[in-house]
């Protein structure tokens, strides 16, 4: 629990708006409005790993999707990858791998489009201090200058969702990926439908990337230090260092770009990463074992992936990456708000990959499932839209799950988000009047990471935004709710 020390007052933003899920930000101020401490509290329940114990292992790819209504496909695929190992499959059939990849690129495409158009663009188009009444996607859609942009965002999101449905079988709780492969081919009519629209998706991705890049460059003086804290970056990459969202080994680089570890296979993840529990958060704090919990934190997600990879294997995204990396002057890019630019490079990459895959005949025919010799343990790692996602299962002889460990993207980014929140709070809030715009700056820094904080219920009447201000004694000074 956060405690209020004498001479401090507390500002609480709960839940954080326009991030996926719920969160609470606590900023501790002293009597002179100087920030002494800032924390992002994440209300994530940790019961899922226990919940799946005793369930048959083949249920996992479907069951784990219930973790999240925002990125169920990432959990679906990470579980399937871990269970590939359990069923003894080290290499999928071409059809199995390509169908899964198409599903994953569809997921990445829709997720990144949603995040940019509906969560981030209001901040960028209207400014950090704009009236909250217009600083949202309805405001974007209502403004004649941006209406087409809002339409485009909706249609890009829809395209990605349709790809997911076609490859996983259902809009929710898809069943497409199974241990050892995939359970369907792509329907030829759906393929024709996607092909008819893919060039538009690529074009819109290019334009969106240009918009985001232009904004970042035009406002670099303001953005460079905003929430920016130098740190290590981690993701999976292929053996040759190629960017890959679906498969690879862990690579981690420090602020200078020097390798901390590389080539770590999924089954070795626990040799390089440990997890720490802190009393004031439900979330675990992973860290690099070799550096310890104090210095071993690192970022994941689009910005990290740009920093760790050696190149991208689609031409348009690779050209964009090379241009992006100039921002770091030969070292990894540390600008927190550059997450958005990096995310749009990935949007373009996903569109290019879908275009490439949709030409591939393996989607329509071929063996779907590979087989092997059963093992007792499996680990799967995937680059979810928000960052590295690790699933680890131990399976008993009776085929039930004996142990599950999940490290989700937002958990990796837990400490980085706390650091960024503190940085913004110190830079923006100290000694100044507490306004909606200032509070939103804290949220803007969090949104850069695109966190998925928990999967809450969505029943009518349950989604207020509440902002509370406490004095030094803990008494409520002010309260705002949407």
């Amino acid at each position: 629990m956060t405690t209020t020390q004498p001479g401090q007052r507390r500002i609480v933003i709960e839940p954080v708006t326009r991030v996926e899920g719920h969160g609470k930000v606590t900023i501790m101020l002293d009597e002179h409005d100087q920030v002494t401490q800032a924390r992002l509290h994440i209300v994530e329940f940790r019961g899922f790993e226990r919940y799946v114990q005793g369930r048959p292992y083949w249920e996992m790819p479907v069951l784990v999707q219930r973790l999240c209504g925002i990125c169920p496909v990432s959990h679906h695929l990470a579980a399937a990858k871990a269970l590939d190992m359990v069923v003894g499959v080290d290499e999928l059939t071409p059809t199995g791998e390509k169908m899964r990849r198409l599903m994953h690129y569809g997921q990445t495409f829709q997720s990144h489009a949603l995040h940019f158009f509906h969560l981030v663009s209001p901040d960028l188009l209207f400014g950090f201090d704009a009236d909250p009444a217009i600083r949202n996607v309805i405001g974007v859609a209502t403004d004649p200058r941006f209406q087409e942009l809002a339409v485009r965002g909706v249609l890009m999101r829809k395209y990605g969702q349709e790809v997911i449905e076609a490859t996983s079988g259902k809009k929710i709780h898809g069943t497409g990926a199974i241990p050892g492969g995939i359970n369907r081919h792509l329907d030829p009519e759906r393929k024709a439908h996607f092909l008819a629209g893919i060039e538009q998706m690529v074009d819109w991705s290019i334009q969106t990337l240009d918009l985001c890049k232009g904004y970042t460059r035009d406002h670099l003086a303001e953005l460079a230090g905003f929430g920016t804290v130098p740190m290590a970056s981690m993701s999976i990459v292929r053996e040759d260092g190629c960017f890959d969202l679906y498969d690879g080994n862990l690579r981690c680089v420090d602020v200078d770009g020097d390798i901390i570890f590389d080539g770590i296979k999924p089954e070795q993840y626990h040799e390089v990463i440990a997890e720490e529990v802190k009393p004031w958060s439900y979330m675990k704090f992973p860290f690099i074992k070799a550096l310890g919990p104090e210095k071993g934190w690192y970022r994941v997600g689009p910005l990290a992936r740009m920093n760790t990879c050696s190149y991208i294997d689609t031409p348009l995204a690779e050209a964009a990456r090379a241009e992006f990396m100039e921002l770091g002057g030969g070292k990894p890019v540390q600008v927190c708000m550059a997450y958005h630019w990096a995310r749009m490079i990935e949007l373009l990459h996903a569109a290019e990959k879908m275009r490439e895959l949709l030409q591939d005949p393996d989607l329509l025919a071929g063996e779907r499932v590979a087989t092997g010799t059963r093992r007792g343990e499996g680990m799967g790692i995937i680059e979810a839209p928000r960052g590295t996602l690790i699933h680890h299962y131990k399976v008993a002889d009776d085929d039930t799950v004996a142990m599950a460990n999940l490290i989700v993207s937002t958990t990796h980014n837990n400490e980085p988000m706390n650091r960024s929140v503190t940085k913004v709070a110190v830079d923006e809030l100290s000694g100044r009047e507490i306004t909606e715009g200032l509070l939103n700056r804290v949220e803007i820094a969090i949104r850069a990471y695109d966190p998925c904080l928990s999967c809450a219920t969505h029943a009518v009447g349950r989604m207020p935004l509440e902002i509370c201000l406490y004095d030094a004694s803990g008494a409520l000074l002010d309260r705002k709710a949407t």
Binding site: G69, L114, Q147, K171, I172
Partner: protein
């Protein structure tokens, strides 16, 4: 008339699954011209689907209310601050109007739920009763001569 029944909720969170449960039951008896869609939560792209229909009935669990269910018209909002996680029915109508130039009449069928604990897939007995009542009501409305034109639909 093209009618869309758009239900949402998380079936793994007890009574939050009321929307999906109604959608599943309605699938088996919906009359022609009625499209049923179900998801974890309302999504931005639902604005496209909404714009392609003449009438929308949103279905969700409700955490409040004295009745087994409430049936109320929904008006589009043009100003809203929300997360994508919790986009409202009213905001979707606003998006449909702004982005696709379709103002679609809409109703919300809010079914009273009581417990929303994670990892429990069964509805509470009382929510189950409310579901049956709401389903019977909606079924009747959809089969009427003037489906939900619902000008005449009254709060139960």
């Amino acid at each position: 008339m093209r009618i869309l029944v758009l239900a949402w909720g998380n079936p793994a969170r007890q009574d939050d699954g009321l929307g999906p449960a109604l959608a599943a039951a309605l699938e088996e008896r919906a009359p022609a011209g009625v499209t049923i869609s179900c998801d974890y939560q309302l999504q931005m792209e639902d604005a496209v689907v909404i714009s392609q229909h003449d009438l929308v009935v949103f279905v969700d669990a409700s955490t409040q209310g004295d009745h087994p269910f409430e049936f109320q018209p929904v008006q589009p909002v043009q100003q809203a601050s929300f997360s994508s996680h919790s986009v409202s029915a009213a905001a979707l109508l606003g998006l449909s109007e702004r982005c696709f130039e379709r103002r679609v009449p809409a109703w919300l069928l809010a079914i009273r739920g009581y417990r929303f604990e994670p990892f429990i897939e069964d509805l509470t007995p009382q929510a189950q009763d409310n579901l049956h009542a709401a389903l019977a009501f909606l079924d009747q409305q959809l089969r009427g001569d003037a489906p939900l034109a619902l000008a005449g639909a009254e709060r139960p």
